[in-house]
Amino acid sequence: MSRIFVKGNEAIARGAVDAGCRCYFGYPITPQNDIPEYLSRVLPVSGGEFIQAESEIAAANMLLGAGACGVRAMTSSSSPGISLKQEAISYMAGSDLPGVIVNISRGGPGLGDIGPSQGDYFQAVKGGGHGDYRQIVLAPGSVQEAYDLTFEAFDLAFEYRNPVMILGDAILGQMMEPIDTREPAGPDLQEAASWRLEGSGERSPRIIRSLRLAEGTLGRHNQDLQEKYIKARKEIRHEEFLTSDARLVVVAFGSIGRIVKSTVRKLRKEGHMVGLLRPITLFPFPAPALQDLARQGKRFMTIEHNMGQMVEDVRLSICGLAESGFYGHLPGNLPTPEDFEEPILKELTG
């Protein structure tokens, strides 16, 4: 549609509007404030709703309410605020409700700092709230991808009737890049027609709930959820860079994947046979691609902006086929491509 120069946060906000998001609920927290600020200007004048909620908890529960009405809606926050949203996310997963949650994550645990970190990988990918559920997790590595994946997050949330999280970080949120926007999508009034609440009218009333007390019903629902997660494997996305002839494949996601790509490019020029696999969906995880590479005899190394979270999924994926080394960059400062050169070379020659 048009080419614009924006911050990652604004790209997400624009992506949401263009994808037909009609309601946004949020609460101020750094480093994601550009998202609510943008949407507070844009949504109300285009027939949508913007609410600065009293808390992260309330914002997530407003998302639950909007989702039950079949309306495309979003909330965003950063790590400590995302912890507060977990209650509603669990209820949404338990009630088969769609909704998009953006985490522009920062350093933790606790209040941590406001700099970038990937310390929320486990929280995003393994559940976060109570109960045996998953959310679909998308990890953009560029501002363009932040825009595109926001678009797709809404489609996935409604297709699977499940919460979808966009997991970015302070680097992505605050970085400016040119992006191409898409033709805005009008809200599809039919996508939720078979289940949304709108008043019963002439049909029989609908109940949306997560409470399942009748004998066998909770077990069946948990089974249905697992089948949904297996079905979602067809949504697996990843990027491979120079993997075909690589001896060592580095696995890294999000902004770190982007930074590692620069490192790989430089090391290649120096003749080192390294490549990159960047998972774009963190759940479902690109295990098949990793297994293919492992069967080709590749060696692996996982790099994260934490002390080792995704590496567990990498190791599980290639278990019995290959091993993965690990290098963790501590939170509190911004990694550069040079920071990863020595660890990668050490892994390559070790």
């Binding site: 309601c23 009293e54 309330a58 529960n61 639950l64 909007a66 009630s95 609440l197 949306i208």
Partner: protein
């Protein structure tokens, strides 16, 4: 002989055995809601947000589109519902532990924003479903399973008077406290509820109706004694009446 219809149960009130204890007032409030919605022609456009506690099962009795909210969050959930579906009548059904304790932030701010929803608040002074623990509304001296010697203001604070608090918020258009322990109170309650629905239908703002309710099981009383307690102890602590009706006052 000509048959005269003397009584008809509301169509949207499910004809099923109740799970509520003998003497519990939830069933009376449910029926009042069902007839109130039906008589006003609102049932088919209603979305009810159910909360956590004994009232959570309202969807088994009042047959309208219903959504379950996490504990205390019903006013936030209802905010999302009303903003997404502005033509629906949005009804919230919460107990006192849910609304006045864990959900205090959500009720205060939904009210303060003047959300065009109707909150039905059932206050029986205890956590009923979990076995009768102290609630924020437990009266001074009242014995519960967690105030075995009776609620003491020095350590446990005071009963929260939510209708009075709501009345002070500018976003609130209608706030009333009613009881259903006798026919006279029941009639007034019906009227207040009808008015609360009107306030929402006319887009005037936030409506709040507090029902004083008996919980004979957790009060360790029979139904008659529990009804009497509403008169003798609850009403003096939680005064009945229309506490605020902005549009009504203006008329």
């Amino acid at each position: 002989m000509q048959e005269v219809l003397a009584y008809k149960s509301p169509d949207i009130l499910a004809d099923v055995p109740t799970h509520f204890c003998p003497g519990c007032h939830h069933g009376i409030v449910h029926k009042m809601l069902a007839s109130g919605l039906e008589d006003a022609g609102l049932a088919q456009k209603s979305i009810c947000v159910a909360a956590i506690g004994c009232g959570a099962f309202i969807y088994n009795y009042v047959l309208v589109d219903t959504l379950e909210a996490p504990h205390g969050r019903a006013p936030a959930v209802a905010t999302g519902v009303k903003r997404s579906s502005p033509d629906s009548l949005v009804l919230v059904y919460q107990g006192d532990g849910d609304l006045a304790s864990i959900g205090l932030a959500e009720i205060m701010h939904a009210a303060n924003r003047g959300e065009k929803i109707t909150v039905v608040y059932v206050n029986n002074t205890v956590y009923g479903m979990t076995g009768g623990q102290m609630a924020p509304t437990t009266m001074l001296g009242q014995k519960t399973t967690t105030t075995p010697l009776g609620r003491q203001s020095g350590s446990d604070g005071y009963p929260m008077q939510m209708t009075e608090i709501m009345s002070r918020l500018q976003g609130v258009s209608f706030a009333a406290r009613v009881a259903v322990n006798n026919i006279k109170n029941l009639k007034k309650a019906q009227k207040a509820l009808r008015r609360a629905f009107e306030v929402q239908e006319q887009g005037l703002g936030f409506g709040f109706v507090e029902f004083l309710a008996a919980c004979p099981t957790n009060w360790r009383m029979n139904a008659l004694d529990a009804n009497a307690r509403v008169d003798n102890e609850m009403i003096p602590c939680f005064p009945l009446g229309i506490h605020k009706d902005v549009a009504g006052e203006a008329q």
